[in-house]
């Protein structure tokens, strides 16, 4: 046996790998632009309202949820619809009808940009907003499961829009679907039935609540089941296989059942004692905020300090300033205004305004009809205004005209500190609904 020398190794010119159809679909066409549009829409909308959500996880999560449902949802519907009509616009239908690859497989690849890019855009916007919230929050955690459910809902809307685009032979179908989608989702989110919790834009405003654990996963099953059912109903061939589309539909309906049994007003939201737990400083009077606003405690205490120094030791003065869902629980508790309205990024934006609000809340009383009337009622009202303006003047840009109370304010300012404390004690003692008892400064 003879051996021949091994042939010299030559570098074989191999062509670059052909791109996979999925990668090509994701790279080309409308898909990436849809992702960018969704991310920018959510981010710009959130940026405009940053002071409202950047201090608390729940505010950030809630606003992201509503923005995703109301803005990203219709946008994704429209983009999916446009993508779905592509084969008709590009006249590739005839060619695709001649290929062996089953329609469902083709559909699974073609729908990917309508599903994955909006989901990625929303996910990016969610991450950016949560990172922007992170430095300023005190307690709790973002409801990531709700945000994940939003991502699934937006992806499902992309798939539904895609199927509509394949079925409806009309160029205006995409923009109109977007408009009708917006109206439908908006109406759905404000409806007074439990069905609103099936929509992706249902709103709930309480920073001390958290959703029940099963709500997000069940919502995902509901949205994904609907989308999968639509895709299967469209893509399964031959027609005798189409009843299989009823399976995900049945799963979606089964997932909807517990959501529809939720309370109409609070839906899946339940109070979370850990978030509403009072956190107090050791001042006199004490300032107590809820755990979600713990970081604001020094700021609130500093804002109230001038008032506290005047009230300290007076009979009838507050023992504790309290904020939160449970209100005053002990004798001597006085409710504080909601810090969420006056705080941005962990700071009180207008301490003077917050102090003014606190004084208003301190002196506010609820009188029955017929009370707080009589010949001295108007004078008492002017005295109330004078005391409030003396303790915490309303900022100039808030429209309160103290002219009528100015003589009383001047008299209060002219008094000695001891006389001021004496008057304040008498004023606090007269707090109520009888104008005749209100002492004149």
């Amino acid at each position: 046996m003879t051996t021949s020398p091994a042939p010299p190794r030559t570098r074989r010119a191999t062509p670059p790998g052909a791109p996979s159809p999925l990668v090509t679909e994701l790279r080309r066409g409308l898909g990436p632009w849809t992702g960018v549009a969704v991310a920018l829409t959510v981010l710009l909308s959130m940026y405009g309202k940053a002071p409202d959500w950047q201090s608390r996880w729940s505010d950030a999560t809630q606003l992201l949820h509503v923005t995703a449902g109301l803005l990203a949802g219709p946008l994704t519907l429209a983009a999916g619809c446009w993508q779905g009509g592509r084969d008709r616009r590009r006249r590739t239908t005839d060619l695709w009808e001649s290929v062996p690859r089953p329609l469902l497989r083709r559909l699974a690849v073609a729908v990917a940009p309508s599903v994955l890019w909006p989901a990625a855009g929303l996910l990016l916007a969610d991450v950016v907003c949560l990172l922007a919230t992170w430095p300023y929050v005190s307690e709790g955690r973002p409801f990531l499961e709700l945000l994940a459910a939003d991502v699934v809902a937006v992806a499902a809307l992309g798939a539904l829009g895609h199927v509509v685009g394949r079925l409806v032979r009309w160029r205006l179908a995409a923009p109109l679907l977007g408009v009708f989608g917006y109206v439908g989702l908006a109406i759905g989110s404000y409806t007074e039935s439990a069905a609103r919790w099936l929509g992706p834009a249902s709103e709930h405003q309480s920073v001390w609540d958290r959703p029940v654990w099963w709500f997000a996963p069940v919502s995902m099953v509901w949205a994904a089941g609907l989308a999968l059912s639509a895709l299967l109903a469209y893509g399964l061939r031959p027609a005798r296989l189409r009843p299989l589309a009823l399976l995900p539909l049945a799963v979606a309906v089964a997932a909807a059942a517990p959501i529809l049994r939720l309370p109409t007003d609070t839906g899946p939201w339940r109070p979370d004692p850990a978030l509403a737990r009072p956190v107090c400083d050791d001042g006199t009077p004490q300032v107590c905020l809820t755990a979600v606003d713990r970081a604001l405690l020094p700021e609130v205490a500093a804002a109230l300090a001038p008032l506290n120094s005047r009230l300290r030791g007076l009979p009838g003065a507050p023992v504790r300033w309290v904020s939160g869902p449970y209100g005053p629980t002990r004798p001597g508790d006085v409710e504080l205004p909601d810090t969420g309205q006056d705080a941005t990024r962990g700071r009180l934006t207008r301490p003077d305004l917050y102090l003014n609000s606190a004084v208003s809340w301190l002196f506010s009383t609820t009188c029955r009809p017929g009370e707080n009337t009589g010949p001295n009622a108007e004078r008492a009202s002017v005295v109330h205004l004078a005391v409030s303006e003396w303790l915490a003047p309303t900022p100039a840009d808030y429209g309160v005209d103290p002219t009528a109370a100015q003589p009383y304010i001047d008299r209060l300012r002219a008094k000695s500190p001891a006389a001021q404390r004496d008057y304040l004690a008498r004023y606090l003692a007269a707090k109520g609904c009888d104008p005749d008892k209100v002492p004149v400064p």
């Binding site: 062509p15 005839d94 060619l95």
Partner: protein, 265 residues
């Protein structure tokens, strides 16, 4: 059906609403390049669409590559061995030529390890090798047509159906394309629907002439040419000779059809 027969159509009738596009057509095609000739509206595109398994016949039997094209199961196997360029070739403008042809290769269920080389070869064969990574939207009309031919041949089809493939090609590209057709016809059955007689004269070995949804003539290009007789003009070209044969075949078919109608009255 003869084992070498790629297309065997019997009694094929295609209707578009109330119009009969193909009327009990019988046709059998084997390996080679077949020109499908006929005036506008004769039924050429209807026949190509049925052969491409895009349109379903109203009645009749369609056997392609030894399988029944009306059977769902057999149709999938047929489609894997089919190449098709529709009259209106649609494409995705954002895809590159490579991406688009690879996409079609995937749709034709080609083994993924064979796709990269097959795509390169198909694109080179149509002379677009230097534009393989250009986006489809940047191509001229002729280049798009060539990309369309590339997607049709990417799977080395045994039955290649081309509907007006030379529309939009300049004269030089047509010459190259006819050469490609001849090359493809050595191993496959190529059906070229066209109304350009010069394409048939230059590239086709066989001709089927359709008129009013019926087969007016089927034979070799030489037989069609012979129908036209000898020209009295000194500078008679092959194309002119085929045109004369085409016209003679059409007239003969019309006369025969007229006589048949008269006989029925």
């Amino acid at each position: 059906m003869n084992p070498s027969t790629a297309v065997a159509v019997t009694g094929l009738t295609v209707r578009h609403r109330r119009t009969v596009a193909l009327d009990r057509l019988d046709l059998s095609l084997g390996p080679g390049v077949h020109g499908l000739l006929g005036p506008n509206g004769a039924g050429k595109t209807s026949l190509i669409r049925v052969l491409a398994t895009v349109a379903a016949p109203f009645s009749g039997r369609v056997e392609l590559l030894g399988g029944d094209a009306t059977s769902h199961r057999e149709r999938t196997g047929i489609r894997r061995r089919l190449g098709y360029l529709p009259q209106e070739f649609g494409y995705y403008p954002g895809f590159t030529v490579r991406e688009f042809v690879a996409y079609v290769a995937w749709l034709k269920e080609m083994p993924s390890d064979r796709v990269p080389a097959a795509v390169e070869r198909a694109v080179r064969r149509v002379g677009l090798g230097d534009r393989i990574d250009a986006k489809m939207k940047t191509l001229s009309g002729g280049m798009v047509r060539r990309a369309g031919i590339a997607q049709a041949v990417v799977n080395e089809p045994e039955l290649l159906l081309l509907d007006e493939p030379t529309a939009g090609l300049d004269p030089e590209q047509r010459v190259d394309f006819r050469s490609l057709l001849r090359e493809l016809g050595t191993g496959a059955t190529v059906v070229v629907s066209t109304h350009l007689v010069e394409d048939v004269a230059a590239a086709c070995t066989e001709v089927a002439l359709i008129e009013g949804g019926r087969l007016a003539f089927q034979g070799t290009t030489g037989e069609l040419t012979a129908l036209g007789g000898v020209s009295t003009e000194g500078n008679d070209s092959t194309t002119h000779a085929v045109e004369r044969g085409y016209t003679a075949a059409l007239r003969a078919h019309r006369t025969s059809a007229e006589n048949a109608r008269e006989a029925l009255r």
